[in-house]
C-alpha cells in the first residue's frame, strides 16, 4: 500500500507536484495517467526517495521507503529504462542489485528467464534495444520479489508479446497474490485493459481518482445515437439545458447528455417511431482527453487537414466537441 499525503515537489519556480494525496491499495492494479510533465514520474521518484518532497509525505506499507530494512523486497521500481551502467552485462547488473540484499544468483537467473533475457544476459547493456532495456528494468524491479511494484511506462518499447506479458504479470501479481501495483502509461487503451483503479494527474494535481469504469463514465458525457423518421420532432422534444443534439445525417441524431432510457421514454410518450437507439460508450481515451484538456502542459500544434480529435467512439463531431 502506498499512501501519499499533501505531496509537493517544486523545482525552482516550477511546481511539478502540487499537494497531492492518494492511496494505492494492494490487490489491484492502479493506473497513473497524465500528460507529459503532469508530475507522474516525479511522484514515483518521490515514493522511492530519489527526489525529496518539498512538502508532504509518502509512505510504503506504513513507513517511508528509506526506513525499510529491506527496501527491495518492499518495493520494486522501474522508473526509467536503462538506469543501468551501459558497460556492465545484464546478468552482472542484476547480480549487483540482488547482492545488496543478500539475494542469490538463483533468483537472478529466475528473473532473467522470467523476462526472456536468457540469450542476452551476458551481453553488455549498452547494445540493448529499448525493449530489452525495458525487460531488464522490469527484471531489476522483480528481483527482490517485492510486495509493491512501481512501473513507470513499463510497456514503452516492448513488442506486442512483451506488452501482453507485462499486462498478465501485473494483473496476476495484484489479483492472485494481493500485491500492490502502481503503473503509469501513456497508452490509454493498454491502461483500460490492465488497470482496475485509476488516478489521473494533470499539472501536478489529481484530476480523478476512482475505479476505471467510474472515471470513464463520469468524465465522458453519455451519448446516444437515435434514428427516426421524425428526427426533427424528436429533437424538439428532447431539447433541454443539459442536452446537446447534433444532427449527423438525415434522420440521424446524436444526443449528448441524455441516456438511452430517457430518449426511449420521451419518444414513446410522444408516439415517435424509432429505427435505432444506440448508447455510445465513452472510452478511457475520451475520458482522459476530457479530463486533461485543461492541464496539458505541452500542446501539440494542430495538423492542418487532420481529423478533429474525437470525443466519443463514434467519431462524428461538431465544433462543440472538437477541442
Amino acid at each position: 500500500m502506498i499512501e501519499a499525503h499533501d505531496l509537493t515537489k517544486r523545482y525552482g519556480s516550477k511546481l511539478a507536484v502540487d499537494g497531492i494525496s492518494f492511496t494505492v491499495q494492494p490487490g489491484r492494479v492502479t493506473g497513473f495517467l497524465g500528460p507529459n510533465g503532469a508530475g507522474k514520474s516525479t511522484t514515483m521518484r518521490m515514493i522511492v526517495g530519489l527526489d525529496r518532497p518539498t512538502h508532504g509525505t509518502v509512505t510504503v506499507n506504513g513507513r517511508p521507503y528509506a526506513e525499510h530494512r529491506s527496501p527491495l523486497t518492499q518495493v520494486g521500481a522501474l522508473l526509467e529504462a536503462k538506469a543501468v551502467h551501459t558497460g556492465r552485462s545484464a546478468r552482472n547488473h542484476l547480480r549487483a542489485i540482488a547482492a545488496t540484499h543478500g539475494i542469490g544468483n538463483k533468483r537472478v537467473n529466475e528473473v532473467i528467464s522470467m523476462t526472456g533475457l536468457d540469450t542476452v544476459a551476458k551481453r553488455r547493456v549498452g547494445g540493448f534495444s529499448l525493449g530489452m532495456g525495458q525487460r531488464l528494468g522490469i527484471a531489476a524491479a522483480l528481483v527482490g520479489d517485492p510486495q509493491t511494484l512501481i512501473l513507470d511506462e513499463p510497456v514503452n518499447g516492448l513488442d506486442p508479446e512483451g506488452v501482453l506479458w507485462v499486462r498478465n504479470l501485473v494483473k496476476y501479481l495484484a489479483a492472485s497474490e494481493g500485491r500492490t501495483v502502481f503503473l503509469s502509461s501513456h497508452l490509454m487503451s493498454e491502461m483500460a485493459v490492465t488497470a482496475d483503479h485509476l488516478i489521473v494527474i494533470g499539472r501536478g494535481k489529481i484530476i480523478a481518482d476512482g475505479p476505471v469504469d467510474t472515471v470513464i463514465s463520469e468524465a465522458t458525457r453519455s451519448t446516444v445515437r437515435v434514428r427516426s423518421p421524425q428526427a426533427t420532432d424528436l429533437a424538439a422534444r428532447l431539447a433541454g439545458p443539459a442536452v446537446t443534439i447534433t444532427p449527423a445525417e438525415d434522420g440521424l441524431l446524436e444526443v449528448h447528455g441524455a441516456t438511452a432510457v430517457e430518449v426511449g421514454e420521451i419518444a414513446a410518450a410522444s408516439g415517435i417511431v424509432l429505427h435505432e437507439l444506440t448508447p455510445l460508450q465513452g472510452s478511457l481515451e475520451d475520458a482522459y482527453m476530457s479530463l486533461t484538456s485543461d492541464s496539458v502542459e505541452y500542446h501539440s500544434a494542430e495538423i492542418p487537414g487532420a481529423e478533429p480529435r474525437a470525443t466519443t467512439t463514434a467519431a462524428t463531431t461538431t465544433g462543440e466537441d472538437a477541442r
Partner: protein, 287 residues
C-alpha cells in the same frame, strides 16, 4: 525480441528468506559492480604496466650506464628514485579509476538503481569507497613489490637495488601503496562531489600534475608557501625515506617541511573535506 516469456511461478505470500539490506551485502554488491566494468580492468592494467614498466626501464638504463664517477647510476640512497618517478605517472590511471567508480553511475543513470536499492544513500558512498581502496591498495602493493623486486634482480642486490632488510625502507614502500590508494580515494571524492567524469578527472589531474609545476614556477610567495600542502606533493612525503626528506628539507629555504606522516595527514585532510561535502550533498540533492 522473440525469446520465450515465462509467467511468474506461483509462490507463497510470505517471503521465504529474510533478505535484508546490510552493509556487508552492500559491499558485496559494490564489489560485483567494481569488477564487472571494463574501465576497472583497463585502468588497473595500465597502472600496473606503467608503474612496473617504468621501474624496469629506468633500472635497465642505470644498469647499463657507466660508474657513478662518470655520472652513472646514483648510489643506494636513491634506490627509490625509479619507483617515485613511475608512481608519479602511474597514479594518473588510478585517479581516473577513482573518479569513474562513481561518476560513471551518474553519467549512465545507474546511480538511481543504486540509490533505490539503498535509499539511505550514504552507505552506498562508503561501501564504494571501501571497495575502491581495498582494490587499489592490493594492486599498488603488487606494483611496488613487482617493480622493486625486478629492480633488485637487475642490480643483483647491489648498487641501486632496494634494501628490503632495511626497516627504514619498509615505510616508504608500503607508504607508496597507501599513498596511491589515498589518491584514488581523493579522486573518488571529487567524482562524488562533481558527478561528472570529465570535470572530476580534469580537476584531480590539475591538482596532481599542473598545480605543483604552476606553484613552483610562479615566483609569488603565497604560492610557494602553499605548494607543500597540495594533495599530491604532501601525500608523496609518505613515499620517501626519512633520509630523503631531510635532504630535500635542507635544500628548501622557504615553506613548510612536512614529515612523512604530516604530509600524508594533509592529503587525508583533503580527502575528508571533499568526501564530507560530497556526502552532505548526496544526502540533500535529488538523485
Amino acid at each position: 525480441m522473440s525469446t520465450a516469456v515465462a509467467t511468474e511461478p506461483p509462490r507463497t505470500n510470505a517471503p521465504l528468506t529474510p533478505h535484508k539490506l546490510t552493509f556487508g551485502h552492500l559491499l558485496r554488491g559494490e564489489w560485483i559492480k567494481f569488477w564487472s566494468v571494463r574501465s576497472t580492468i583497463w585502468t588497473l592494467a595500465i597502472f600496473l604496466l606503467a608503474t612496473v614498466g617504468l621501474v624496469v626501464l629506468i633500472s635497465l638504463a642505470f644498469v647499463n650506464a657507466p660508474s657513478p664517477e662518470e655520472g652513472g647510476p646514483p648510489d643506494a640512497s636513491d634506490a627509490l628514485g625509479p619507483l617515485s618517478f613511475a608512481v608519479t605517472l602511474g597514479q594518473l590511471a588510478l585517479a581516473v579509476l577513482g573518479a569513474l567508480t562513481i561518476t560513471s553511475e551518474y553519467t549512465t543513470g545507474m546511480i538511481r538503481s543504486s540509490l533505490t536499492a539503498a535509499p539511505k544513500r550514504l552507505p552506498v558512498l562508503w561501501s564504494k569507497a571501501i571497495v575502491l581502496v581495498v582494490a587499489v591498495l592490493g594492486a599498488s602493493l603488487v606494483a611496488v613489490a613487482a617493480g622493486t623486486g625486478l629492480q633488485w634482480l637487475f642490480f643483483d642486490s647491489q648498487g641501486l637495488s632496494v634494501d628490503f632488510s632495511d626497516p627504514d625502507m619498509i615505510r616508504p614502500l608500503v607508504g607508496t601503496a597507501v599513498y596511491l590508494a589515498t589518491i584514488a580515494l581523493f579522486s573518488y571524492a571529487l567524482g562524488a562531489l562533481m558527478r561528472h567524469s570529465a570535470a572530476a578527472i580534469a580537476t584531480v589531474l590539475g591538482l596532481l600534475l599542473v598545480a605543483p609545476i604552476l606553484f613552483s614556477s610562479i615566483p609569488w610567495k603565497p604560492l610557494t608557501l602553499m605548494a607543500p600542502f597540495l594533495p599530491g606533493l604532501a601525500g608523496q612525503q609518505l613515499t620517501q625515506t626519512d633520509a630523503q626528506l631531510e635532504m630535500s628539507a635542507s635544500f628548501s629555504d622557504v615553506g613548510a617541511d612536512l614529515s612523512a606522516w604530516e604530509g600524508y595527514g594533509v592529503l587525508v585532510l583533503w580527502v575528508v573535506v571533499v568526501l564530507g561535502v560530497a556526502a552532505v550533498l548526496l544526502k540533500k540533492r535529488d538523485a
